[in-house]
Amino acid sequence: MVRQRTFHPENVHEESILAPIYKISSKDLLLWSGLLIILGVGAYAYFQQLISGLGVTGMNRPIYWGVYITNFVFFIGLAHSGTFISAILRLAGAEWRKPLTRAAEAITLFSLPFAVASIVADMGRPELVLNMVIYGRFQSPLIWDITAVSLYMFSSVVFFYLSLLPDIALIRDRITGIPKWQHRMYEILSLGWQGRSQQYHRLEKVLDWMAIFMTMLVVTVHTVVSWVFGMTIQPGWHTALIGPFFLLGAIYSGTAAVVIVLAILRRVYQMEEALPIDLFNSLRKLLIVFSLGWIYMMIAEFLTIFYGNIPEEMEVFWQKFTGDFSVIFWGMTILVFIIPLFILIVKGKNNIRWMVIAGVLINIGMWLERYVVIVPTETRPRLLYELAQGVYRPTWVEWAITLALFAGMILLYAIFTRFFPIIPLWETAESLEEDEQKVATRRQRIFGQRIQSRIKKEHDHANQ
């Protein structure tokens, strides 16, 4: 194989961004093995469930869906962070998003598999999962789900991988002193990327196109997830607002998760310069908007139910407001809305610590929100709301599997940061290194004036 000439962008932060890749510290191994132990416990719990049946969970009749489905919805929601940050903000031309795109997209990438795993964990007969393909009925909302989620997962992988390509090539060429297999891995994954300006133009173009598609997918996916509930006629679920409400909550919790992840990366990998505090301030504004949007949805939803006063709807309504779920419901409202809004407005500016606290609270609260949407309805099903007063107590198996899913996600993320740059080098580069023969061709403007300017800069540089 003839070695191609390759060109790489110049980035002042290159050293600090690539620093985490050089070595795996003992702290890493400690973290990884800790997470692996949690995963092991989860695997043991799942094994128990597989052997004896779903009876080892706290689920019963009429509460047929519990923590697993909550996890599913939550992970899908978490996944929306990445696509929101990198696709929607790309379309909006928000330049500040660039350093955090990859960190956010990685959340998407690593939470989606665990959303799927939650569904499999919930199935009575996971060995028959292929029946969904063999006997799939398109009338079932679950098949819409399968279609949307698998397409979303696949597209996120591609979107993520394409924007990673130039950086993999850069590591391939620049990093030395790594094991041979690792180098070989970069060589294969970089697909012979050369960093020609033509390649960058095409890459930008494809990413722009995909961003449009991904934006549509984000909206579709979470709406379809909510339709699994919304398409039934159960009180509390059967509302047209459930789709937009799920979507907004998803982007809200996703963005909050980005704050947490960025703060950790900044701290652990000393990336203070590459991840300036302005980023957090921009995210803060977004979070304030989302939290207000969330309370708007809450009021729209519950005022409609309360005012309408339909008996079976009110059964579920009171379950949430004053009944068995009142602690979770009000706790959720405080965690998702009241405290974070206060923190974000009063304390959050220029203060990462407070932002992280808000982010954690929002995510705990959003998990509870998913729970409180799903379970109370089941405790008061239509016909039997006076009779079958369902009580649901999750068992250790469910918690162990839940923890394992989160541990798995964190593990994948942590490992990823040790092998690939978590801040996109080429997107944040000051200039792409000169490509001597090729003059950049003018490209049609779609969304990125930025590319235009970069090419222009290159021209100027060449002309000097």
Binding site: G53, L54, G124, R125, T232, Q234, L387
Partner: protein, 239 residues
């Protein structure tokens, strides 16, 4: 086309739970331990319960109103609509059936059913020894099909089938005896056993059948008519 339907006269019903028992033995319904039952995991294809959350004293003094509830076999069932694999389906005679071999245990049908008539096998079904020896042999089993009283694997949903295996059996019997199959030949176990003879079964499409006649009664009502499911279980009000 035949449209199987059941009429339950609540005025005659004495809430003896005989229908529940007969159903259990006819359909090999798994038995659960008291602990599991307390969790709400007992399986009653045909359930009998007080209509409002009556107090114990009301039940003891005979003041409580009871309802017996098999599957409604809706004409527009919400459960078959949502099944991703077609494991639950409505056959040409309007019976909502369940194929255990195809069911993946996602439980979307159980949450979609507004009547709560669908049950899930949380564990491998078990019976005490004496019961185990008397399981109904009439099991519907074929290639990739296992329905009705067939022994369920763990992790699948099951439900009342109007004792569809009896229908098959009666059809076969009629064929063997070289005569026409009459709708009167087929009755589910609960109807056959009903102590107070409060249950009637027949063809709703035949205007002369008992169920059709009773469906015209001024006492007739169906559960959750507002849900738009068009149940084929018709109740007759008390009094």
């Amino acid at each position: 086309m035949t449209k199987w339907s059941m009429v339950i006269d609540l005025d005659k019903c004495v809430a003896c739970q005989g229908c529940s028992m007969a159903c259990r033995f006819e359909n090999n319904t798994p038995v659960v331990s008291p602990d599991e039952a307390a969790l709400g995991r007992s399986i009653f294809w045909n359930d009998v319960f007080p209509l409002r959350s009556e107090e114990e004293s009301a039940i003891a003094s005979g003041q409580a109103k009871f309802l017996t509830r098999p599957c409604m076999h809706c004409e527009d069932p919400p459960c078959t609509k949502v099944c991703p694999v077609g494991a639950t389906y409505q056959d040409t005679e309007g019976i909502v059936r369940q194929n255990y071999t195809r069911c993946i245990g996602c439980r979307l049908c159980t949450v979609a059913c507004p009547y709560g008539v669908r049950y899930f096998n949380w564990y491998e079904p078990t019976w005490e020894e004496s019961l185990e020896r008397h399981l109904t042999p009439d099991q519907i089993e074929g290639r990739a099909v296992s329905e009705g009283p067939s022994i369920r694997p763990k992790g699948v949903v099951e439900k009342c089938t109007f004792c569809v295996h009896r229908l098959f059996k009666e059809r076969d019997r009629a064929a063997a005896e070289e005569r026409e199959f009459r709708t009167e030949d087929f009755v589910p176990a609960c109807v056959q056993t009903c102590t107070a003879k409060s249950r009637y079964f027949g063809d709703l499409d035949n205007p002369n059948s008992t169920v059709s006649q009773l469906a015209q009664s001024r006492r007739a009502f169906r559960l959750l008519e507002e849900a738009g499911t068009h149940p084929k279980i018709i109740y007759l009000h008390e009094g």
